[in-house]
Subunit: 392 residues, 2 copies
């Protein structure tokens, strides 16, 4: 078999706002090889990703991503790693390529799953997929009262674990942060698992972060996520020492295995959060899961969009019984909700998330929904059309 | 003043080959504010860079780069840093943004130089620009005989320091590498400064790199550059311990200050090589130069393209008297050679490179040459033209 076709679809809500909701648009990828089809999604700027797929050759280490994918051999799961290595070598100087590769890699795993009649996690070498405990990922309210109400609602909806992030948090001062944190704890109750996401707000300013960390300890949160920019490793390491029982979490911005390895080795994080739609796909995410196990760090997915993206981000650590938390998007756009027909719902008394025991992702995009949200793009270079939105 | 216009130009040679010559195309950036104009260049995939500038909003942390630049205030050099921070925050999830910002930042420094009648290095706080010793950057020959001839020619052309890289080096075996290295040393003579560039060929394989490192020590090279991928910090650190007098060099792939800081802190490099056209511009490169001085590591530019790019990459360490080596491209394409009218030539008995003592870069693109190489691009989304190549 060889890779016969790869199609990129730019999907978007009719109106998009400049808020921290990454589910307002999507890059959907369809791969065809032989009689099989696979689907993937990357967490990326759609137009920029499409451009990196079709751009003309710049030089030997800055080739369009498609040159390392289209027409290449695809018989075994190991071929996916070979294709990824080729993309990295031949598009080394094309910065966007890691995001683009992510969607392709995920679609290739789906396709391989269908070919071998196996769920992706089994092809990755896991004997079984353990159920995960979902945490509801919500934005802080504008006021403490609003945050408290959001916490209550998440518990009423059945979530024992709730993550609050972004909004005004970290942007005013430690006193205001403490009010928000106390409200969040009150909202979810004493027995709730509280997670806090600072959204890189302190960039690399350890003293400012340390002031709010005190309040995070006070309300007994499990983790403080992304106090700093992804690469601010020494700031992470310095803050981690002041955390007590509160561990630091981070990693969603990693676009290579090396970046994640550096967070594991130098940042002192207790949780590594990987988005398969950014780090280079399921292949790269699985390597990070292996590294996390070696180092005694807990792996968690990062997902704020569709259930196709959720499946892709859960597969890499599905077989790790002790890494039980999973991020579960609850404030998605209609596009993200409608993208797949078979959502991953919390099941059983404990409300756990189970990956389907079916080939590939065990779910497919709802093509009628896709058609509703598809954005028409045309890119011409020297008068020649390099990309035009394909038929769904 | 505010930023009134930013124009991106995609320039390319008529024919482009998949070889390690990054000068075959270019992204040229023109910025206008008030009565002033500034020029910059980034080392990036042109079409992908243009897409990241004009792409529709995805969400609050994935905005088109232009939203953080166009219409923003620009009165003082400090405004450039503010704009860069805004791009990083608002395009955090747009991977290509760092490369795009690089060209804009460089053009903004040129514009500020013209406004204040000062060369860029003076605006950066340097009292004077020290002359640099250029090394000729050439590719290894296909055979040792060819490499020897290239070394001789570089010395005849007046270069005391010569860097050999890429080609077959590292791709066959340590014996073949040693033959190439012995030929290179013979070509440039005993008193020549020999630099070796492995072009990331060993990815993260320390034992394989160590075998060739022995030969690099044998021929008394000053540095071994990029044995591994930019992020393979622990591999760098392990190999650095076996280098003896040979230091490791790396850093050209860094697209953030944090990445460069990590190479300084964890990779054990003796030389940090920064391309202002990739790391986020002159602002980011200057911060790395400051960090290098603090840590006793020597800063070197990375430049393989035009003299506009060369100026941008020299400004950040122009005032560091002890950091004397500079990469000087000698095998550029006609496009890169013709892009500026005032090349930076080796001068004086010692053949040093002097930055012009004139406002901004002290050079400008040759617009006639630019017109010859300009590539027409049109990007349409939902029928609306987001980008069409502007008039030069």
């Amino acid at each position: 078999m060889q890779i016969d076709a790869v199609d990129f679809f730019y999907l978007a809500m009719p109106e998009i706002r400049a808020v921290a909701d990454g589910s307002q648009d999507a890059v959907l990828v369809r791969v065809r090889a032989g009689q099989y089809e696979g689907w993937g999604e990357c967490e990326a700027s759609p137009l920029t990703t499409i451009a990196s797929w079709v751009c003309p050759l710049s030089h030997g280490a800055c080739r369009p991503v498609r040159d390392s994918v289209l027409g290449h051999r695809l018989d075994e799961p190991s071929d996916i790693g070979r294709i990824g290595a080729l993309v990295r070598a031949h598009s080394m100087d094309l910065l966007q390529a890691d995001h683009t590769l992510s969607g392709i890699d995920i679609a290739l795993w789906d396709l391989m799953g269908k070919r071998f009649g196996q769920p992706i996690h089994r092809l990755l070498g896991y004997a079984k997929a353990y159920p995960k405990l979902p945490y509801a990922s919500v934005l802080f309210g504008e006021t403490g009262v609003e945050t408290l109400a959001k916490g209550k609602r998440a518990r009423e909806d059945g979530y024992r674990a709730v993550k609050f992030g972004w909004g005004p948090f970290g942007r005013i001062g430690p006193k205001e942060d403490q009010e928000q944190l106390v409200a969040a704890r009150e909202g979810i109750g004493k027995d709730g698992i509280l997670l806090v996401d600072a959204g890189t707000v302190w960039i690399d300013d350890v003293p400012r972060a340390a002031k709010t960390l005190k309040a995070v300890r006070l309300v007994d949160a499990l983790w403080l996520e992304e106090p700093f920019a992804t690469g601010a490793l020494s700031a992470y390491a310095a803050l981690a020492q002041q955390g007590g029982r509160v561990k630091l979490a981070g990693g969603e911005g990693c676009h290579t295995v090396d970046m994640a390895r550096q967070m594991l080795d130098y940042a002192g994080v207790g949780y590594i959060q990987i988005d398969a739609g950014r780090i280079g796909g399921i292949s790269a995410a699985k390597r990070v899961a292996d590294l996390a196990v070696e180092r005694g760090v807990t792996y968690v997915n990062h997902t704020f969009t569709s259930h196709l993206a959720l499946s892709a981000s859960l597969q890499p650590y599905a077989g790790l019984a002790d890494h039980i938390l999973c991020e579960y998007p609850v404030e998605q756009s209609a596009l993200a909700r409608e993208l797949t027909r078979e959502p991953l719902r919390a099941e059983g008394e404990e409300g756990r998330i189970y990956l389907p025991d079916a080939p590939g992702h065990g779910m497919a995009p709802d093509l009628e929904a896709v058609r509703k949200y598809v954005v028409d793009v045309e890119i011409k270079v020297q008068g020649r059309v390099l990309y035009r939105t394909p038929a769904v």
